[in-house]
């Protein structure tokens, strides 16, 4: 299956029908904050990343997996470079760890972290050209990150990744990972707190190549998203992954912040 086919399929449901298990290829596994690991499923020969796998005291409030899924679905609807996500249940997790987890698709055979590639000179060499082209498509993410109050991109070394198939370098993309702490995860959107909107932190190099037309177009796209469509994305998340109160905060925030994007980007558009 291609990335596009998987993304389309995963968008149709919140909870995966696949049974995920740890795979043999754990390349690049580092015990990060979320403590995830790589997984595969029978009949699905692609690698995914399961998270969160560590114990967290505030797991129920933050609901990391649910936020990953909501962000991925909305990004899909907007045609933005965020890997597809599905929710699943972790069987027999270690004490204190969550059963409510998410699996994010590993999208490209070759991937390199932002930290490794951000100093690549934009020039006429094949790699320089490919990175430039990939970066030129990142402006919409500045708007999306602002909408969902993403706080983990900025110039983050690993949450932004350049990926491609080695056979088609010219078709590379920069993808944005990790929305676990977005959408007011620590109560910032409660009691109307979502009304406070400031531009999300974004890599300086991307800001230097920001396309204001693309920014405006993305604001229009988000504004045009049907409220019912957003509601469906949020409300279908099972209670095991997101409680009703948090759903309501996220819904109010996403709907309410749509028109505020014009104000937040008034100096650019």
């Amino acid at each position: 299956m291609t990335n596009e086919e998987i993304a389309k399929d995963w968008r149709t449901r919140a909870v995966s029908t696949l049974k995920w298990m740890r795979c043999s290829n754990q390349t690049g596994l580092i015990e990060g904050e979320a403590g995830g690991y790589y997984v595969e499923a029978e009949g699905f020969h692609r690698r995914g990343y399961l998270k969160p796998a560590n114990a967290h005291q505030d797991a129920a409030e933050v609901s990391r997996a649910a936020r990953e899924k909501i962000a991925a679905d909305l990004a899909y609807d907007l045609g933005l470079p965020v890997p597809p996500v599905q929710l699943t249940y972790r069987e027999n997790p270690p004490p204190g760890c969550e059963t409510a987890v998410a699996v994010s698709l590993i999208m490209y055979p070759a991937q390199h972290a932002w930290e490794t590639i951000r100093d690549i000179p934009v020039n006429q060499a094949p790699i320089g050209l490919a990175v430039a082209q990939a970066m030129s498509n990142c402006s919409p993410m500045f708007v999306f990150d602002t909408w969902v109050a993403q706080t983990d991109h900025n110039d983050h070394p690993h949450n932004i990744v350049w990926g491609y198939d080695p056979k088609t370098l010219s078709d590379s993309r920069i993808i944005f990972l990790d929305f676990a702490f977005s959408m007011g995860c620590r109560g910032e959107w409660e009691n109307g707190g979502w009304r406070t909107i400031t531009k999300a932190g974004f890599p300086a190099k991307m800001l230097n190549h920001l396309n204001s037309d693309s920014v405006l177009e993305t604001i229009h796209k988000i504004s045009d998203l049907n409220d019912t469509q957003i509601q469906e994305v949020i409300m279908r998340i099972p209670k095991s992954h997101l409680d009703e109160e948090q759903k309501e905060y996220i819904y109010q925030g996403l709907i309410g912040r749509k028109p505020l994007l014009y104000q937040a980007f008034s100096d650019i558009i």
Partner: protein, 169 residues
């Protein structure tokens, strides 16, 4: 003299999307001290020609890293040693490299050498052992033809906050 050092194997994963894809070593970086005051670092890169002749398709950016491996490691040393010092440098690098090019493992080594620069031979033997462990066929071919792993001793700039470590080539 007795020399203690840590080393990390840098590996390449041909397909991150494949649950059963196997990584293979493309280089090694070792760092340690000789005596109390002399820091050394060694990088060893596999011959890119040999990798290609084994039908290993490196993606373009990884190819660039492996082709310029010593320069790449030199840059990491300059940045990493300033931030972490020699004890944590390899873990710092492991955290940095965790995608197509990644550190597959870190280990420690103790050896006896007659002269300080003999540690190069020890590191090279170690790396050859790593390759052999991965695939005996590859090392056999590399021994039979030109294109042995390329090795370099780096000049380690002491961290500015750590005066007791001296630069040494």
């Amino acid at each position: 003299m007795r020399v203690n050092y840590h080393y990390a194997i840098l590996s390449y994963c041909p397909d991150l999307t494949d649950p059963s894809s196997q990584s293979f070593p493309v280089g090694m970086v070792a760092i340690g001290k000789i005596g109390d005051n002399t820091t050394f670092a060694i990088s060893i890169a596999r011959s890119i020609n040999k990798l290609c002749s084994q039908n290993v398709l490196l993606d373009p950016f990884s190819m660039q890293i492996v082709e310029n491996f010593h320069t790449f490691i030199d840059k990491q040393l300059k940045e990493g040693l300033e931030k972490t010092g020699i004890n944590d440098f390899l873990f710092w690098l492991q955290n940095r490299l965790r995608n197509t090019i990644h550190i597959s493992h870190i280990n420690c080594r103790e050896c006896e050498v007659e002269q300080p620069d003999h540690v190069l031979n020890d590191a090279l033997r170690l790396f050859n052992g790593e390759i052999e462990h991965f695939d005996p066929v590859l090392i056999k071919i590399e021994e039979n033809q030109r294109g042995l792993p390329d090795i370099r001793m780096h000049e380690c700039q002491p961290p500015s906050h750590c005066n007791q470590i001296h630069a040494h080539a």
